[in-house]
Subunit: 122 residues, 2 copies
DNA sequence: CTGTATCCTACTCGATACTG
DNA sequence: CAGTATCGAGTAGGATACAG
């Protein structure tokens, strides 16, 4: 296949899946959130905070908003005092989980090898 | 499952696959590079540049270095004039491709839906 | 051809404090 | 409880020039 053909498929066109879809959640926080939401089912803001100890509320809130606007996560606000908000995966979000789990499996399988590779760099 | 258990599995421990492995290539450029390298087989620096028109040489070089240090990409430098360098996937890199392709398929399938979701945000 | 050097911008991230 | 506001630090990304 010619380079130009590949370019058409992945780069130039506005319909490149990597650029237009995956770029929005291809980072450690978003993927982590999706996998955790899958395992736990329904979670509140504070539960997510505790599940990922080293994420600040601002960053957590930001990623949740992004995931919600993509349509991967559903946010349900209950008009109560004190306020309660629940986050859970949408159907679209759930459909992504098997792939994310495979990715996670792959990472787990190759964790040692990759850590060794990374150490060699130093 | 308790939140604390999830925390142990994905967040606290140094062995969390998402944090220690996936975080290194979970971005649009790296994933794009891996998929393109898979389709083309062996590519030179310039071919990659042309395949992804809107990546600067600095950024391309940086991502290739990272992928190389993870062990996903192999870099072969031929001592010629003019210089020639060839990039290709390692076995480890190839083992990741099926998953990346599934991700890409998923993205392509849901491209329209997600674009619509994102537009609603504005 | 294959990058590196430089400069600059923009975004991301993190900590903390604070509001409804 | 569920976030937002603010500030600051660090880093990733982009344009361009140019070196081996």
């Amino acid at each position: 296949m010619k380079v130009e053909k590949i370019s058409e498929k992945y780069s130039c066109v506005a319909s490149c899946p990597m650029r237009n879809v995956i770029a929005h959640f291809a980072n450690k926080w978003s993927m982590l959130l999706l996998v955790i939401l899958d395992e736990f089912g329904v979670m509140r803001f504070n539960e997510l905070s505790r599940a990922i100890p080293d994420i600040s509320p601002k960053v957590l809130s930001g990623h949740l908003k992004t995931l919600e606007s993509i349509g991967l996560v559903k946010r349900i606000l209950y008009a109560e005092v004190p306020p309660r908000t629940e986050y859970e995966l949408t159907e679209l979000g759930k459909s992504l989980i098997p792939i994310l789990n495979q990715l996670s499996e792959w990472a787990r399988r190759n964790l040692e090898k990759i850590s060794k590779n990374l150490r060699k760099r130093d």
